[in-house]
């Protein structure tokens, strides 16, 4: 066979210059194809020669534009995903802190200070947690958190109607159980556990409920 002055072919498929080829022809035998990523494509997909002058002056490659906006949107969504995961751990930390701080026992009032049908306000377990104490009859005392379970407005008991009303969004709770009966609240009011020793009323814990 006549020697054409070429370098002998390297038959290995991953040899330099033959990447991606399956035959035995060196890649430099052919004219390189135009790089499709360098071609500007207008939104109507017609060639640039048929586009108005203003579009040729300010060409926007629409497929590339779509790719970049989806890529950036995905990056933003992954950042959002990180924020959600961080929020979960923030809740876990809040729960740990709530368990650690506890509630303790606090004297609220004397039995004689709260007549039947009257209410008494106090804070428990911290000074930032307002609560209400209600005396329904001679021997029945109830205490709830005063924060509405909708958006934390201060609720107001209406003993004669047997309800607790939230004036912000017209939410109503049952006075006897603290469960929501009307309006936007979905969770019951937190119950403050009471301990009556002689004539003294003590708060001994708080019970949050989902239903």
């Amino acid at each position: 066979m006549a020697d054409l002055g070429r370098e002998p072919l390297d038959v290995r498929i991953d040899s330099p210059g033959r990447e991606g080829l399956t035959g035995t022809t060196p890649a430099n035998m052919y004219r390189p194809l135009e790089d499709a990523e360098q071609v500007t494509i207008a939104p109507d997909w017609r060639p640039m020669e048929e586009q108005p002058t203003w579009r040729t002056d300010f060409p926007i490659d629409w497929p590339q534009d779509h790719y970049v906006e989806r890529r950036d949107f995905m990056k933003f969504m992954v950042l959002t995903s990180l924020a959600f995961a961080a929020g979960q751990f923030w809740i876990a930390m809040q729960n740990w802190w709530r368990r650690r701080s506890g509630s303790g026992t606090v004297r609220l009032a004397s039995v004689n200070d709260v007549p039947v049908g009257a209410t008494h306000t106090f804070t428990y377990p911290t000074e930032h947690d307002p609560c209400i104490l209600v005396r329904l009859d001679q021997g029945t005392f109830l205490a709830y958190s005063q924060k509405c379970t909708h958006l934390s407005c201060a609720v107001v008991p209406r003993v004669e109607e047997g309800v607790i009303r939230c004036p912000c969004h017209e939410g109503f709770f049952d006075l006897a159980s603290g469960r929501p009966i009307a309006g936007p609240p979905r969770r019951p009011l937190s119950i403050v556990r009471l301990d009556i020793r002689g004539d003294e009323i003590f708060a001994s814990g708080i019970e949050n409920r989902t239903v």
């Binding site: 497929p63 790719y67 995905m74 979960q88």
Partner: protein, 78 residues
Amino acid sequence: MSLNRPFTRAQRATIVNGMLAFVLMLVVLQLWLLTATMNAFLGGDQSVIWPAAAASLVCFLLNAGLLRYLYYIERTRQ
């Protein structure tokens, strides 16, 4: 032997669309987890807090893995 052929623009657009669909589904799942966990936490139910946090972390790691692959195909393009 390796045939490390970079993806074309059209292929990359298809890949990023598929990855975006997965990421959106996982983010919606995380949003649901966060609202359900917050409701449970405010209601005093502590049993779901750590499992939900672990599930949300797994979702984020899956998303981060997809983003890493996106960076990889961007890098092989050049």
